[in-house]
Symmetry: C2
Subunit: 457 residues, 2 copies
C-alpha cells in the first residue's frame, strides 16, 4: 500500500489567514469598469449596490488581504477542505496520471459558494447592512448566502432563475430552512421582472435577469445591499482560499500539479482553485491551467472580449470580459451555475493574456464522466462539477496515450445531491447535446452595440 | 480564542484497524435467536440468507475483529469522520455543557450506513455472491448499499418502504445513479408483497414488510443473499468504528464524555457511537448512555422485551429484543429510519441489563432542534439525527440548570439534504405530534402470541 493517504488534510491552524489578490501580480493591468460613455467608474458609483468595505476590496491591488477572525471561525465549520487522491478513478481509466481533487462539497450548502458568502455577509453586517438581496442559478449560491446570512445574523432574499426554481424544488426549501425568502425570477416583485414576464411569460429566466431584480430591490433601501456569487474581483479573492489550501496540501506530499482544472460559469470556483497557481506561473513555474465550460454557454471559447453589462437591465457598470451578450438566455442545461452570459473580468483577463486555456464540453460527456466518478470515488458530483471531471478525464487519457505521469488537480466544486433529476434524465436517455448555433450567438452579440471597446493589450 | 479546534481530526493512519465486538464483554450473555418452538437457531439455519463469513461474525464472541484492507481503503474515501465541537450551538443555548458531535454525514451517501454496507458487500463478494437484496426505510440504507455494491463490484436490489419511496423521490435516483434497482414495498415482485397489497392496497408499507420481500428474493437463488442495514450483531460490530474513532478523538483533547447520545431505529448508529464507551462503562468508567427514539415508534421505552420476528412474514428467526410486535405499522413520521418495530438484540440487551437509558421524543421538538442546529452549526440534519440533537439539547439545558460543565457526545448520523420535504412541512405548520395510543400498542403486541419467552436475567 502507498504511504500517501487518500485525503491530504490540513489542520485548522494551517488554514490560510489571508486571501490572495491576483491584481497585485498581473503582468498587464486589467481595464477598469466603465459607464456607457466609456468613462471609468469610481468606487462611489457602486455605493448603492455594495457596502464600501467590499468596494475597497474590489479595487484593491494589495497582494494579501486578511481574513477576519469571525469569518475564519465560521469557515472552520467545514474548512480546510480535503485534497483527495482519486486512485479508484485513475485505476478505472488505466492512466499513469495522478488525479487530485479538492472537495468543496463538504460545506453545509454543498459547494464552494459559502467561502465568499460568509465573507460578504460579514462585511455587510460590519457596514451596518440588515438585508442582502441576491440572484441564484442552480441554487448553490442562493443557499450558500441564505446559510451565511443566518450564521452572521442578517436577512436574505433570493431571486432564483425560474428554470432552476422548477427543476430544483428542494433548493428553495433549503434556503427557507436557513431563514431566507426565495422567489422565481423573473418575478412580479420588481419592475424589471414584470417587464420580462410581459415580454415572455414562459421565459426560463436567466442569471442576468435575476441579477437585475436583486439589484433593483437593493438600491431601494438604505439598509439593503446586493451580493453577487461570482464575476466580481472580491468574490474571486474570497475563493482563493481553495487554491491556497491546495498549494499547501501539495507541499505536504512533495508534489506540484502539471495541470489545474476548474469549471467556469461566472468564474469563481475556477479562480479559487487556479489563481494561487497562476501566481506561481507568473513567477516562472510551469503549469497548465484550464477553464472548462458547457458547449451550450461557451463564454470563454466563443464570446468576444468586450465591455458588457453584468445584468440584463444594464444596472451594473460595463465590465471588460468575455461575453455572449447580456441579453443571452442560455438553453436549459442542468448545470444551472454555468448558465451565465459573461465571465469574471479577472478570469477573462488571464485568458486574454495567455495565462490560461479554455475548453467547451457537451453535456452528455459531462454526465458520463460524473457517473464514472460516482461509480469509482463514491461521491456524486454537481452537474457544474462534472465539466471539470470530464476535462480531467480527457487530460488523464491524453497522459495515458503519451505515457506521461502527469499530476492533475481539479476543483470538485460541489456535490450533486440536490441535482439528481439531471442524472435521472441522463440515465433515461432524455439528455441531448446542444452546441450554440453561430446565428444565435450573433443575434445575442447584437445587444453589445454602442458599448465602448476595451483598450488593446 | 480557544486552542481546541472546531473539528478534531484523525489521520488515516490513526483509523481503527479492528471492529469492537461487545459480545466479548457482556456481563450477562445475550439469549440466542430461536425458532418458533423455542429451540436455539444454529448458524446453518441462516446460510440461505447470509454468507457464512458474516454468520461467523454474527455469532462471534472475539473482542476484536480485523477490518479487511480493501474495506478500510474504501472507508478512507470519507473516514475518519470529524468530531465537531458545537460551540455555536452551545452559545445559542447559553449552556456550560460542552457539546461534541461525530459527523457521519460526510460519507458519499450522507449517513453512517456505508460503514457496514461496504463491509457486507465485501464479505458477500468474497463468499462468491453476485447479487444483494435489501430493504430501506428513509433510503439511507438502500443508497448506502447501492453505493457499496458498486464500489465492491456486485449487483444490488432495494425494496423501499412505500411511504418513503413517495416522500423521497430523489433517494431512488440516488440508488439508480449508483447502479441499483429500486422498488416500492410492498411490491408485486414477491409473494408477500402481493399478499400485503391485497390486504391493504393503500398501505404506507413498513420495514418489516420490505425485509420479507428482500429475504424472499434472496433465498430463491444460490448467488444471491440478503443484507440488513441494522438490528443484527455484525451490523452493530461494523458501526463501532464510529465510537472507536470518537474515543481516540477525545483522547487527543484530553476529555471524556459524561453523556453519549444516539438516535435509535434498528439500533446501528446508536450502537456504533456507544458500544466502545459502554465497554469502558462495563470496566468501571462513569458514563451515561442514552438511546433516543420517536414517540410514534417507542420500541425501547414502551415495547416489552420478547422473542419476536424481524420481519412481518416471520422469515427471520425469533430475536430477543424490545419490540412493538412484527405486524406494527408505525405512523408516517418523517424519520423513516426510526420506523422499525424492533430493536437490535444487542441494544435491547444492554438496555435490559441497565447499561443504557432510553427516551422517546415528539416529532415537533426534534424539528425545532434540527432548525436550531442548522441555524447555528450550518449543517442540516436528517430527521432521524434530529432526535439525537433534541435529546442533546435537553441534556445541555439540564446542565445549565445544574450549572455543570457536562461533556456531551452525540452521533450526528446523517445530513437532511434528501429529506427537505419534512422541513417544508414543519415550517408550514403541517407537522403534528403523535404519541402511540396504548390500545394500538396492545393490538400490535397480540402478534407476539405463541412466541416463547426470553430467559430471565
Amino acid at each position: 500500500m502507498s504511504t500517501e493517504p487518500t485525503k491530504i488534510i490540513l489542520s485548522e491552524d494551517e488554514m490560510p489567514r489571508q486571501w490572495y489578490n491576483i491584481q497585485a501580480d498581473l503582468p498587464t493591468p486589467m481595464p477598469p469598469p466603465v459607464g456607457l460613455d466609456g468613462t471609468p467608474i469610481g468606487p462611489d458609483a457602486l455605493a448603492q449596490v455594495f457596502p464600501m468595505n467590499l468596494i475597497e476590496q474590489e479595487v484593491s491591488t494589495e497582494r494579501w488581504i486578511d481574513i477576519p477572525d469571525e469569518v475564519l471561525g465560521i469557515l472552520k465549520l467545514w474548512r480546510p477542505s480535503p485534497l483527495y487522491r482519486a486512485r479508484r478513478l485513475e485505476a478505472a481509466l488505466g492512466t499513469p496520471a495522478k488525479i487530485y481533487y479538492k472537495n468543496e462539497g463538504v460545506s453545509p450548502a454543498g459547494s464552494h459558494k459559502p467561502n465568499t458568502a460568509v465573507a460578504q455577509a460579514w462585511y455587510n453586517r460590519e457596514f451596518g447592512i440588515k438585508y442582502l438581496t441576491t440572484e441564484t442559478g442552480a441554487g448553490q449560491w442562493g443557499s450558500a448566502l441564505a446559510m451565511s446570512c443566518k450564521l452572521i445574523g442578517i436577512e436574505c432574499k433570493v431571486f432564483m432563475v425560474r428554470i432552476s426554481f422548477d427543476q430544483k424544488p428542494f433548493r428553495k426549501i433549503m434556503m427557507k430552512t436557513w431563514g431566507a425568502e426565495c422567489y422565481p425570477s423573473p418575478s412580479m416583485e420588481t419592475a424589471i421582472g414584470r417587464k420580462m414576464l410581459e415580454e415572455d411569460p414562459d421565459t426560463p429566466g436567466s442569471l442576468a435577469i435575476a441579477i437585475s431584480e436583486a439589484i433593483e430591490q437593493a438600491v431601494e433601501r438604505d439598509d439593503t445591499r446586493y451580493a453577487l456569487g461570482s464575476v466580481l474581483n472580491h468574490v474571486m479573492l474570497h475563493q482563493t482560499i481553495i487554491g491556497l489550501e491546495a498549494r499547501k496540501q501539495f507541499e505536504k506530499i512533495g508534489r506540484y500539479p502539471d495541470i489545474v482544472i476548474g469549471c467556469a460559469g461566472g468564474g469563481s470556483n475556477f479562480a479559487g482553485i487556479s489563481f494561487p497557481f497562476i501566481c506561481d506561473k507568473i513567477h516562472g513555474k510551469e503549469v497548465k491551467v484550464i477553464a472548462t465550460e458547457p458547449e451550450a454557454c461557451p463564454t470563454l471559447t466563443r464570446g468576444p472580449y468586450v465591455y458588457d453589462s453584468g445584468d440584463v437591465a444594464k444596472m451594473t457598470p460595463l465590465l471588460p470580459m468575455h461575453s455572449l451578450g447580456h441579453r443571452f438566455i442560455p438553453p436549459a442545461i442542468h448545470a444551472g451555475g454555468l448558465r451565465y452570459h459573461g465571465m469574471a473580468p479577472l478570469v477573462s483577463h488571464v485568458k486574454r493574456i495567455g495565462l490560461i486555456e479554455a475548453t467547451a464540453l457537451p453535456q452528455t460527456e459531462c454526465y458520463e464522466a460524473a457517473l464514472l466518478f460516482a461509480h469509482t470515488e463514491g461521491f456524486i458530483p454537481a452537474p457544474e462539477t462534472s465539466h471539470a471531471i470530464a476535462q480531467t478525464i480527457r487530460e488523464a487519457k491524453q497522459a495515458k496515450e503519451e505515457g506521461k505521469e502527469k499530476v492533475i488537480l481539479m476543483n470538485w466544486s460541489g456535490h450533486g445531491l440536490m441535482d439528481l433529476q439531471g442524472y435521472d434524465a441522463y440515465m433515461s436517455g432524455k439528455i441531448s447535446d446542444y452546441a450554440l448555433p453561430e446565428e444565435m450567438l450573433q443575434r445575442s452579440l447584437a445587444s453589445l452595440e454602442g458599448h465602448p471597446e476595451p483598450p488593446g493589450l
